[in-house]
Structure formats: structure tokens, C-alpha cells
């Protein structure tokens, strides 16, 4: 506070109103006390991302409830033939379990990071990245099946309401993009962990921040699973 007062005296050329404005807003650095700045920023980014995904999900809701043509039944569209018998939504269920598992390994990686256990942290992050990569592969398989076998397009499909394809590709595509970026980020942070970068810096916050992003990707999938696949 005293620092602020002296600075104000030394800068008479600035308009007092503007000075007050910047002082008030820069006071925000005290708003999240004892929170790593990177973590606070990641949370704010995730908040903005929440709004982006919500826009997609709300527009999907709008399209689905305004169409007069029946919506394709996701339970049948995403069924897989295993042993000559269609099992509903099975691939989506497996993808869900894979993503949840990756969240579990990530949570433990953060924990071991704070225990400064370099090897286990690195290994768990690598496991998380591998699970994430397998999730994206399964999604690629699902897209391939839908585009080339079922003939789903963003502007129409043989099963029902034309809006189905547009919402499906937009929502799962944007989520898949997030997973892919997450895998790359995890691999970068994991390699830094393995090389002892955070031991030297004495700060394992980067692992927790990467973890926040990864759990968010899992969180978004929870909502997509409920609203798009199960509804």
C-alpha cells in the first residue's frame, strides 16, 4: 500500500482516475492468495473453455428439440457388432472407462510430483498420455465407421434428423482436439519431469497445472456422454 502511494506521488503525469483504475485491477494479484499464478490462470482458461463447450452443447440441445424429424437413436448408431450381436454404445463405454482411468493415473501423478518422486510421476504421466492416445484412436475409429459405413455427414444422414452429423462432428471433434493437445502437453511435461527439470526448479506445479487441464477434458466427456450419447 505504501509502495502504491509513493508511486502515485512520483507519477503526476498520469490521470488520477486511470491510476486508480490500474491500482484497483492490479490489486487482483492478491485475490487468489497462496495459489500458484499458473494454476489460477489455468482455472480461468478452463472457465472460458467451459463456456465454449456449453455453447456447443446448448446449440445441440436447440437443434435436437427444434427438429420435427426423429433424432437418430445414439444407442443404435454407436452399437458395435461383437460375436454377431449388436452391443449398444459399447465403444463409447470403453472410451469412457479409458478416459476415467487416465484421469486416475493423472491424479496420482500430481500426488507423486508433490512427493518429489520423479520416476513414478513421469511413468504415471506417460501412462496417462498413452490412455489419452488410445482414446483418440478409438474416436478416429468411430468417426471412420460413421463416415464411411453409416454415411453420416454434417449436412445429413440416413438415420434421421440432418442436424445429427453437425452436432456430432462439432462436439466430439472439438473434444478430441482437446484430448490430442492434452496428450502432447502431457508428453512435454513428462519428459521435463524425467529429465529432472522440476527437481532443479524446486517446483512441481507444472504437473498439477497439466493435470487440471487433463481432468477438465475428462469432465467435458462426462457431459458429452450424458447429453449426446445417453440422452
Amino acid at each position: 500500500m505504501t509502495q502504491f502511494v509513493t508511486r502515485q506521488e512520483n507519477a503526476p503525469e498520469t490521470a488520477p482516475g486511470l491510476r486508480e483504475f490500474t491500482a484497483d485491477w492490479s490489486g487482483d494479484q492478491e485475490a487468489f492468495r497462496h495459489v500458484h499464478w499458473g494454476k489460477a490462470m489455468m482455472w480461468i482458461f478452463l472457465l472460458s473453455d467451459t463456456f465454449i463447450f456449453s455453447c456447443f452443447l446448448v446449440s445441440y440441445m436447440t437443434m435436437r428439440s427444434s427438429t420435427t424429424v426423429p433424432w437418430p437413436n445414439p444407442s443404435e448408431v454407436f452399437a458395435l457388432n461383437i460375436g454377431g450381436q449388436p452391443i449398444p454404445l459399447i465403444l463409447i463405454a470403453i472410451m469412457t472407462f479409458v478416459l476415467i482411468s487416465s484421469s486416475g493415473t493423472m491424479a496420482m501423478a500430481v500426488n507423486f510430483g508433490y512427493r518429489r518422486n520423479r520416476k513414478v510421476t513421469g511413468a504415471l504421466m506417460l501412462a496417462t498420455a498413452l490412455l489419452g492416445a488410445s482414446f483418440v484412436s478409438m474416436q478416429a475409429f468411430e468417426w471412420h465407421k460413421l463416415i464411411f459405413e453409416e454415411g453420416v455427414r454434417p449436412w445429413g444422414n440416413p438415420m434421421g434428423a440432418a442436424q445429427f452429423g453437425a452436432s456430432f462432428f462439432m462436439i466430439t471433434g472439438f473434444h478430441g482436439l482437446h484430448v490430442s493437445i492434452g496428450v502432447i502437453m502431457l508428453l512435454i511435461v513428462a519428459s521435463k519431469v524425467a529429465r529432472g527439470h522440476y527437481d532443479r526448479a524446486g517446483d512441481y506445479s507444472a504437473v498439477e497445472i497439466a493435470g487440471l487441464y487433463w481432468h477438465f477434458v475428462d469432465l467435458v466427456w462426462v457431459f458429452i456422454f450424458a447429453f449426446f450419447y445417453l440422452w
Binding site: 485475490a31 487468489f32 492468495r33 497462496h34 495459489v35 500458484h36 489460477a40 482455472w43 480461468i44 478452463l46 472457465l47 467451459t50 463456456f51 456449453s54 446448448v58 446449440s59 440441445m61 436447440t62 437443434m63 428439440s65 427444434s66 427438429t67 420435427t68 424429424v69 444407442s75 449398444p88 454404445l89 463405454a93 469412457t96 472407462f97 476415467i100 482411468s101 484421469s103 486416475g104 493423472m106 491424479a107 496420482m108 500426488n111 508433490y114 512427493r115 517446483d203 512441481y204 506445479s205 498439477e208 493435470g211 487440471l212 481432468h215 477438465f216 475428462d218 469432465l219 462426462v222 457431459f223 456422454f225 450424458a226 447429453f227 450419447y229 445417453l230 440422452w231
Partner: protein, 119 residues
Amino acid sequence: MNDHPVDIAQHPVATTEGHTHPIGVYLKVWGYLFVLSTMSYLVDYFHFEGVMRWTLIITFMLLKAGLIIAIFMHMAWERMALVYAILVPPLVLLVLVWMMTVESNYTFWTRILFLHGGD
């Protein structure tokens, strides 16, 4: 989570590094998430329909989301200032949902009345 070793009242700044929860907490939550996912899958598998289906789906969804945010993302141990800054703003989305419900209802009936029953 009564058996949790880190309590907010005892450790007001427990969110900075140095706090280590036992791994068992994460394994337990992992297990809960598996069970909840299985249950929401079974909602589809056993063809629950109508209000029952929607209630079950939303309940399991909110429980899963809560576990992920509170435990995996450590929100349960964050400072109140951060928790409110992140969790309150998304509530305005409910207004968007309400407005778009009204809008889509209007679109639906416009299509029924003026577009020969749809298409």
C-alpha cells in the same frame, strides 16, 4: 470423506505444494467413477425411458462431475475465493439453456405449422 487427513480448517493454505493425500483417496474416487459410469451405461442398456432415464443420467453425470472437480482437480482444498470465481460464473449458462429452450420450442411449432409438418 470423513477419513480424509487434510482438513481445510486445520490447513488453511493446504493448496500450495507440500500437501500429499494418501493415494488411496484417488483409487477410491477412481472406483466410484467406474461404478457411476457403469450405472449410467446400464441406464441405456436396460432401456430406461422418459423422466426416469433423464433423472438417472443427470444424477450420475452430476455425481461424476462433482467427484472429478472436488477430488481430482483439488477444488475441495482450494481457497473459497478461487472456488467461487470458477464455479459461480457457469451458472449463468442456465439462462442460456432456458432462452434456447423457448427459442427451439418456437422453431419447432413454426416448422409444424408452416412447413408441412417439418422437413
